[in-house]
């Protein structure tokens, strides 16, 4: 056939050539360069021959060279065969480019690894703690319930059994409701005793969550009966306890255990693995309420409550329904329910509390770090693209389409991001471990944190975003690249678009960095305020010993007398240790647990008579109740404001409960200033007599004999609640923990106190002997964690942004060396040159500060919930952050600017 179809030999030759072109692309490029240069020379000579000036001849030749008609841009790069080959080529090209610029490549990969790593680590935590649904069936239908009382300024109170029973019987929106109580108990089985977290739960609790036993059953349902049919001394144990303490004995059901050396319980079931709700509970005991309730069971708001909404019911509907029930209860039981209403929140959010906003903020900040890293790498990439303009122009001259070039850049960006992403996964993995190691242990669900597929996927996503950002920026920056630039002098080979893109990128980095810096300065200042907050007591030199004394130590009869005597002896015994100045007992140690609260009223309130509460709910007060021994205020260094403290004489001769007819002796009480302010805004509480609802078996009423300064007992960032202190000698209803003040450092005393406790009573669980300082530190762990993490993100961002500014100014200087040389030659002083360069370098910085300032205002309001005693628009934080950023930028700009100031005019002019 005599047509133009190539013969097999031609084809083979063509294919071989193509293969060579692919394999030896650099050689092919050089070849092409030479050929084009030759063409240009010939054209120039031709122009000279036709009578042009040499300069004009060259310009005309260049013009003709650059005058590529529109359609060439559409012509595919002729060397390309298909997209896969394109990709391979692009990758090879990218790898070669990376190898040619190792410093750039390493810096870019490091920046991206850090950015993506930080993001991935925080995401791993947020994913498990905040985003992943609770591991129960249909968790979106689970709610937590609270009672609240606006009149008594109680936002969130635990729930009374009465309210619970009525909700259970009447709610049409809640499928089931359960009460929960939690405490530690001493469990003895097989000759061993150990402390366990014990939850007392309604029988409906397990079905409500949708969890099952692996062996045995759970408690008999309450079933709306007036009186419950089940037995109280039954216990369900966790899978872990079953495995670790009972060797996974399949015949466990029916075995008995001793609780608190006192009660015998029968094991009836083992829960499914990993189930430990609430608060890492290890055993569950029944908490049952039939329909028949005593009046007190409407008063005591003791328990946590959870519910499951019926399918299809929204939170708003359920809340509305609960509020309706609450208002009916107000009418039916005014004495206990007036002013009280009900509200609820999704269970997962309720479990997280304040941790959720903190973690989301940290995720946002980590995202900022990643974007800054991307911006930084993009800036570097633009600079490199500019430097590589010659290469680019040659490729355009060869007919490489714009799309083709764009793809090449994006491929390079993606390749860079992929390397950064791989580094990011590694950095993320280690950072997540680090994060878990330093995270406050009271963040819920931390044990569920895993570096799983979703987390890796998030890293991949971040990598993709980084790749596109890093790849597109140089493409934008080099959009006016034409072949015209190719033959221009290399040192001047920069386009306006590229430098503008760089400025925008630096501006964006600065803006994001400012947002980060402001947020972290606000958080750090908040933490500083928190740390230096006057807690109302002095923790230095104080050791706290949280004790669990088994109830079995005080058998009837005369249980209260025995307890009083036991703690008298224990306190005296510990007080004899060398170095101990004073020892006191208290029912709760500040910052460790909820202080129990109760109702009380003035004995002269209308309707109040003996143990009978006043008729008006407004006259029923609510206060935290703490029982202490006389040395407590002295040991904790809580100053007395008025009146007197407790003394050993504040003690009843007989503390045993008697039948209700016999009058109890009157007792004494001390209140805090918060209580004095709340209930005696204008009067003097001293000498007033009050009755406490659950005090009846000890004292008929109590006279207030003193007022002490406020103590932040619940948490560091909440002001003191109204609190009433009762002397243990008049109220030995519960066991005590100890506080010990010594002249030695508290840490030195830990082991001697622990030994003394064991020697006193081997049944005491002495695990809770801790310096009070450590307890305060633990209470500050969450804000410290948030502030420290935000601070390190901000530092990282500042460094990265500083590198960005350093880069752009260095680039400016390199580009303008000649101009600077002329200025110096014309008599410009080095200082004015320095300033000129810095000023130009700072332009994008100031732009970024302006934009970032606005964004930071929004951010500050978004993190308001995490701030303490610092206004979101705290001027010092904003000015400080901006100043820090500008100072960093000036420093980063000064280094290359100094180089500019030292330019030798002769040298610079000769260089071209």
């Amino acid at each position: 056939m005599l047509d133009g179809r190539p013969t097999l030999g031609d084809r083979l030759r063509g294919a071989r050539r193509r293969l060579r072109a692919i394999l030896f692309r650099r050689a092919a490029d050089r070849d092409m360069s030479r050929e084009l240069a030759f063409h240009l020379e010939m054209e120039t000579e031709h122009n000279i021959r036709s009578g042009m000036e040499p300069g004009a001849a060259r310009r005309a030749a260049l013009l003709a060279f650059g005058g590529i008609s529109r359609f060439t841009e559409d012509v595919r790069d002729v060397r390309n065969v298909d997209w896969l080959e394109d990709l391979r080529q692009d990758l090879r090209q990218a790898i070669r480019a990376f190898r040619r610029a190792p410093a750039f490549t390493l810096a870019a990969i490091a920046a991206l690894s850090l950015g993506i790593g930080a993001n991935t680590a925080v995401f791993a935590v947020v994913h498990a703690v905040v985003l992943a649904p609770l591991p129960y069936s249909e968790p979106e239908r689970l709610v937590r319930l609270w009672e609240s009382n606006a009149g008594q300024r109680i936002e969130r109170s635990t729930v009374s059994p009465g309210t619970f029973v009525d909700l259970r019987e009447r709610s049409r929106t809640l499928e089931s409701v359960a009460l929960l109580g939690w405490r530690t108990m001493l469990l003895s089985a097989g000759g061993e005793s150990w402390e366990v977290g014990a939850a007392a739960v309604s029988p409906a609790f397990f079905d409500l969550l949708g969890v099952r036993t692996v062996v045995g059953t759970t408690f008999e349902p309450e079933d709306g009966k007036a009186k419950w049919a089940g037995t109280f001394d039954e216990v369900v144990i966790s899978h872990r306890v079953w495995r670790e303490r009972f060797g996974s004995d399949p015949g466990i059901v029916g075995r008995t255990v001793l609780m608190d050396y006192q009660w015998t319980y029968t094991i009836i079931g083992v829960m499914q693995p990993a189930f430990a709700f609430p608060d890492n509970a290890e055993i569950w005991v029944p908490l049952v309420y039939g329909r028949a309730l005593s009046p007190n069971e409407r008063q005591y708001r003791y328990y946590d409550a959870i519910g499951r909404m019926r399918p299809g019911v929204t939170l708003a509907q359920a809340t509305q329904d609960a509020a309706t029930i609450a208002s009916r209860l107000e009418a039916e039981h005014p004495a206990s329910n007036a002013g009280w209403t009900l509200h609820m929140a999704p269970l997962d959010r309720a479990i997280l509390g304040n941790t959720r906003p903190a973690l989301l903020v940290l995720l946002g900040l980590a995202g900022c770090v990643m974007l800054i890293a991307c911006g930084n790498v993009a800036t570097l990439a633009v600079a490199r693209a500019t430097a590589r303009q010659h290469e680019t122009a040659v490729r355009v001259a060869l007919g490489a389409g714009r799309r083709r070039l764009l793809r090449q850049w994006t491929t390079e960006g993606l390749a860079l991001a992929a390397l950064g992403g791989a580094g990011g996964v590694a950095v993320g993995y280690w950072s997540a471990e680090l994060l878990l190691a330093i995270a406050p242990t009271d963040i819920p669900r931390l044990d569920e944190v895993a570096f799983d597929g979703t987390v890796v996927l998030s890293a991949l996503l971040a990598t993709g975003v980084a790749g596109v950002l890093v790849g597109l920026a140089p493409a934008l920056g080099a959009r006016d690249t034409t072949a015209l630039h190719a033959m221009r002098s290399r040192t001047d080979a920069t386009s306006l678009a590229a430098s503008r893109t760089r400025e925008w990128l630096v501006g964006a980095q600065v803006a994001l960095t400012l947002v980060l810096t402001v947020a972290s300065v606000l958080l750090l200042r908040s933490f500083e305020r928190l740390r230096t907050t006057d807690l109302g007591f002095r923790s230095e030199g104080v050791l706290s010993a949280e004790l669990k004394v088994p109830g079995g130590r005080f058998p009837a009869p005369n249980r209260w007398t025995k307890r009083l005597d036991y703690f008298d002896r224990l306190i005296a015994d510990v007080g004899r240790l060398p170095g101990v100045r004073s020892v006191a007992g208290t029912t709760t140690i500040p910052l460790t647990a909820d202080v129990g609260s109760g109702s009380l009223w003035r004995t002269d309130a209308p309707g109040a008579k003996g143990q009978q509460p006043p008729t008006s709910a407004a006259d029923q007060w609510r206060a935290a109740i703490q029982v202490v021994t006389p040395a407590y205020f002295e040991t904790m260094a809580i100053p007395l404001a008025r009146g007197r403290g407790f003394d050993p004489a504040d003690r009843f001769a007989n503390v045993e409960p008697t039948d209700d007819e016999r009058p109890r002796p009157p007792g004494v009480a001390i209140i805090n200033e918060a209580m004095a302010r709340r209930f005696w805004p204008n009067g003097d509480p001293l000498g007033t007599t009050v009755s406490l609802l659950d005090d009846r078996s000890f004292a008929s009423y109590r006279t207030i004999v003193g007022v002490v300064r406020d103590v932040r007992a619940a948490s560091v960032n909440e002001t003191a609640e109204p609190t009433i202190y009762l002397p243990f000698g008049q109220h030995p209803g519960r066991g005590l923990s100890l506080v010990v003040r010594s002249s030695l450092p508290a840490a030195q005393l830990v082991s001697s106190v622990r030994d003394r406790l064991r020697a006193f009573d081997a049944a005491i669980s002495g695990s809770g002997v801790t310096p009070l300082n450590a307890i305060v530190g633990r209470a500050l762990a969450k804000p410290r964690f948030t502030a420290a993490l935000a601070g390190s993100f901000a530092t990282l961002a500042l460094v990265i942004a500083g590198i960005g500014v350093f880069g752009i100014v260095g680039f400016l200087v390199a580009r303008r060396t000649r101009e600077i040389g002329i200025r110096v030659a014309l008599g410009a002083r080095p200082s004015s040159v320095l300033w000129l360069v810095i000023r130009e370098g700072l332009r994008p910085v100031l732009l970024g500060v302006a934009v970032g300032g606005i964004a930071a205002v929004g951010t500050a309001f978004a993190i308001r919930a995490l701030l303490y005693d610092v206004a979101p628009l705290d001027p010092a934080s904003f000015i400080g952050a901006a100043a820090l950023l500008v100072a960093t930028s000036v420093l980063a700009a000064a280094l290359p600017a100094k180089r500019a100031a030292g330019v030798d005019p002769l040298e610079s002019l000769r260089r071209d």
Binding site: R5, P6, D10, R34, T72, R79, A397, L398, G399
Partner: protein
């Protein structure tokens, strides 16, 4: 539309290159000059089209390239027509003539 036009032009340019090289091997610049002169300056070939076209033709096996020295003793890349290039020239010329005739017929008939 733009693509069709460029395909048309590309095909034409290939034909012109093949025809010009059929006389003697030439380097790129001489090739463009030759086309320009032969067409009495009506056709100018920009480098942006010329070199990709040369690449393409070389890959198709219709032309071959080789570095030689010019009359002035400078290295330049010379392109030579191959046997299959010569066959292709014949076919493409025939196609072109048919095409022109067809267009002419329509233009005159209208």
């Amino acid at each position: 539309m733009a693509r069709e036009q460029s395909d048309l032009l590309r095909g034409t340019l290939d034909l012109l290159i093949l025809r010009t090289l059929s006389a003697s091997p030439l380097h790129g610049w001489a090739l463009s000059q030759s086309i320009q002169q032969q067409s009495e300056n009506l056709l100018r070939v920009g480098q942006g089209s010329l070199y990709p076209a040369l690449q393409r033709l070389e890959q198709q096996g219709w032309i071959e390239s080789e570095w030689r020295t010019t009359d002035q003793n400078r290295p330049a890349k010379y392109y030579t027509l191959t046997a299959s290039g010569r066959r292709a020239l014949t076919t493409e010329t025939k196609n072109w003539r048919q095409y022109v005739r067809a267009v002419d017929l329509i233009l005159e008939g209208a």
